[in-house]
Symmetry: C2
């Protein structure tokens, strides 16, 4: 009877706020002596790591950090940034991991906009932070991380000082799982970056759902490549303690270090953009024999081209294509191989694997929606709509930006801004960023599809396609190309290559050979290309 | 800044009540054509299963089932009971899966106490339900499941009628994740069974945490042995859709059926009590070759004896010992093999594996507490205390039993009633049910330890040890023994065997040869043994 069931209340025994801090507290007990962190000559157990985290949290509290205070960090992937994922959260603070490749002006904007209270910085990025503060007129307290590989610092409070603090008391769990845990700024392919706020509940479920779906079980060794300033490294730092995975750090993702780490630490899991996989696959340093056991790899940021899937498979990598946005804590869809894909030839399998796939288990099923009609598109692999997402790993909202938050959550769904189709099997495939779709003679042209064709030309290093105004067709595709070193293809060569292979309305009408402008994270800034051709 | 972070609210896009219903909705999309259920000649996909569930839910709604209504089910492990785990929940109802081995009087008590609205019953158990209702003075609506292997029914509404209903509309998710999803009655080793209430949040986290920790990933084939009326089969039915595992049902757990299913369905995962593993390992039907790939097995209910671990390892089973109670949705601790256990000899490894271990990732770290001192016991593997648990897979409470709920949750922890020690590595080991500890001459004697020694005697089939009052020592151990068929050991043989191997105060002072009373689930009813000897 309803009232009898409802009479049973929450209490400390049966309701604990969901937070990845619980995973660390448990790992300190369950995996105490097992290796948690490997970095150069440093090897630390989960017990040591948890102790360091509690000391850093105690030190931050002593500096005045408490509920809702932003602690910004500028560092490459080193153990300190990993530890701060837990330490800042334990104080009630909010971790703001900032992209170290950004220009000072944007770093200053982020420090200011996020109401940063303390900046923790690897000495290599101290000049960047100082210049950013000067430009933004800020005078924040700075804590330096002195990495063995970094330059000398400017002095003042250091991470080592934090480590000398008394450990914080209590379990460090939030009162409310909806409490903010991190703020990550979008990369700004259009306009000012927005501050995406994550909460403890989402971080917990992202970590647990990923551990279940990858899966990542006992004895895993995780190579940290995805920068922790991108969606907190897809929330993998919060996942590691669930099953006591070993986190392997190399500071820089250069092939020598990555291959050395794989060999010496028995890496089983990693995440990396396709461009990193390509770099590894094409490196002279790549080992001759395939990794055994194979490495489980999530790749995101762009669909992995068939050639990369082929090469990485030969290297001993199980690559799964995943998709997400800063607003979704990282990956929320995955291209799970279906049981009959094994029968397909490589090309067909690669085509399937390049789809963005289906939702992760912590999310509701992904939708592709015709927003005007407010209805899902037919599952015909052709009709485009916008990817809409719902679930517990969708952001709390944009910090101090009510209108953008309302727009993003219009009608109770998160609107991704990505144009996609849905196949009969419910797998989605992105066709383009909505704003990058080219409408030529009334036909939708996916810039991504045209770019994929350009990449098949042997001389093409980088390609980007945008709409160019056209008197007759409204818009036509215009291709921007960076050629490979020593390559000599002409505009006519490229145009002819495409014309032979693409429908006429999809083929570019012009080629511009130029260096293609990118964000610090490597995303093409198409708005700059449009400016170049007056669109 | 705190107020800016707190200004970001929950909405439909970023907050979905945690419920295993989401896993089914997603599986219908993501694993649509993959096999969900295998039972005899029946094979159904996830899309079909989800459709059946929605029809059954629609049919139950048409019968008036709604928020907080208990729907009781008496059935062995067949697909219908699996489907009802989702269908009842979708209506807002509460699933009461009742032990089919109970006597009518207790079934009647449970139907009455749980405020059951509708009983769904496999025709084989229709007489049990009818008698139960007669004894309890109830006249509930009954829906019959006509299983191909069951006898003819008595007619009236049937599960097939439910399947002909219109599918329910909407996604079936609860408004509030704290909503009740199931009620499971304790087995009643002491007094009346209590109604343990589970909620959607707990069911979701139990499923996700288990999938992450086992792990159980894509392509898994799960053999359903643990009765779904025990903690909802340890919540594994709710876990299956997370990664689209195939659920294999055999109705009865007899060795022929189990081995056939393993062979034909490529079973990768199962849960079973040690006694079932023993039955399989000692069966003449057991295949000669080890299972390849090995089967991942959770075992619970009693520590697996070394001999069983040895035999099951030889069969190709990776057995993990897990521990939990009805009040904790099933398993909440697991004996994770540590990285250096591989170096141990079999006996030592078996001893380690017989520990109850450490908490699952959805729980806070398990504690062993001296309740009088309100402090954890030293981690010395000797000092006994009570196992205390905290986390999101602890029950909502006992149905209509405020005092028992308050007692169980005293001080914000769930008190298990199990006496245990903690090792230096934070692994726990149960020594006894608290009320079964024998206090002899001021020394604590674990009845479990004495029983373990008795089991090493070749003539002993079943052993149970309870306290017998004693003028000098206060209490002394008294052993109850069932001998193996044809065995001839005398009381003196048994007493001498123990005396040679146990400390004097631990050795039983009397042996009673008798049939040992057990609950329908096979648990020894020690209170009946105590009555036999006037204690």
């Amino acid at each position: 009877m309803r009232e009898n069931f409802e009479a049973l209340d929450k209490c400390g025994a049966n309701h604990v706020p969901l937070s990845p801090i619980s995973f660390l507290n448990r790992a300190a007990e369950v995996f105490g002596p097992e290796t948690a962190v490997v970095y150069g000559k440093d090897r630390r157990s989960w017990a040591e790591t948890a102790d360091r985290v509690r000391r850093v949290a105690g030190g931050l509290q002593a500096m005045g950090v408490g509920l809702g205070d932003t602690v910004s960090v500028l560092a490459p992937n080193i153990p300190e940034l990993f530890e701060l994922h837990f330490a800042v959260a334990m104080t009630g603070g909010v971790l703001g991991a900032i992209n170290i490749r950004l220009e000072p002006e944007t770093v200053g904007y982020i420090l200011d906009h996020s109401d940063c209270k303390i900046v923790i910085v690897d000495t290599a990025f101290r000049p960047l932070v100082d210049q950013a503060m000067t430009e933004a007129g800020l005078d924040l307290r700075v804590v330096e991380i002195t990495d063995p590989e970094g330059p000398a610092g400017l002095g003042g409070p250091s991470y080592d000082d934090l480590l000398k603090s008394d450990p914080m008391s209590g379990d460090g769990l939030p009162q409310d799982e909806w409490q903010a845990i991190a703020i990550n700024y979008t990369s700004g392919t259009s306009g000012r970056p927005k501050g995406v706020v994550y909460h403890h509940r989402g971080a917990y479920l992202m970590a647990m759902g990923t551990a279940a779906a990858w899966p990542m079980s006992y004895g895993a060794s995780y190579l940290s490549i995805v920068p922790m300033f991108h969606c907190n490294g897809w929330c993998h730092p919060w996942m590691a303690p669930i099953n006591g995975a070993k986190m392997v750090f190399t500071r820089l993702p250069d092939p020598q270090r990555l291959f050395d780490a794989i060999a010496s630490e028995g890496v089983t899991h990693m995440g990396a953009a396709p461009v990193v996989l390509q770099m590894m696959a094409e490196s002279d340093l790549a080992p001759k024999a395939a990794f055994d056991p194979p490495i489980n790899v999530f790749t995101a940021g762009a669909p992995p081209p068939p050639a990369i899937l082929e090469k990485t498979a030969a290297m001993g990598m199980n690559v799964m294509h995943v998709y997400g946005l800063t607003e979704t804590y990282g990956h929320v869809t995955q291209c799970i191989p279906q049981s009959d894909w094994g029968d397909l030839d490589l090309q067909s399998r690669a085509e399937r694997s390049a789809r963005q796939g289906v939702s992760f288990p912590m999310m509701e099923p992904v939708e592709v929606v015709n927003r005007k009609a407010n209805a899902p598109v037919p599952r015909d692999a052709e009709t485009q709509g916008e990817i809409a997402l719902r679930g517990n790993t969708v952001m709390k909202g944009y910090y101090k930006n009510v209108q953008a938050t309302l727009d993003a959550f219009d009608g109770g769904k998160f609107w991704s801004g990505d144009a996609a189709v849905m196949y009969g099997d419910a797998y989605i495939q992105i066709r383009d960023r909505l704003k990058d779709v080219i409408i030529s003679g009334g036909e939708n042209v996916s810039s991504v599809e045209v770019e994929a064709m350009l990449y098949r030309h042997p001389d093409v290093q980088t390609a980007a396609v945008v709409a160019e105004p056209h008197d007759r067709w409204g818009e036509v595709p215009c291709a921007f190309i960076e050629l490979r070193a020593g390559a000599t293809a002409s505009e006519d060569d490229i145009l002819g290559f495409c014309k032979d292979r693409l429908a006429g309305f999809k083929a570019p009408k012009r080629v511009v050979f130029t260096e293609i402008p990118k964000t610090s994270t490597g995303k093409v800034q198409k708005f700059k290309l449009r400016e170049l051709i007056g669109n």
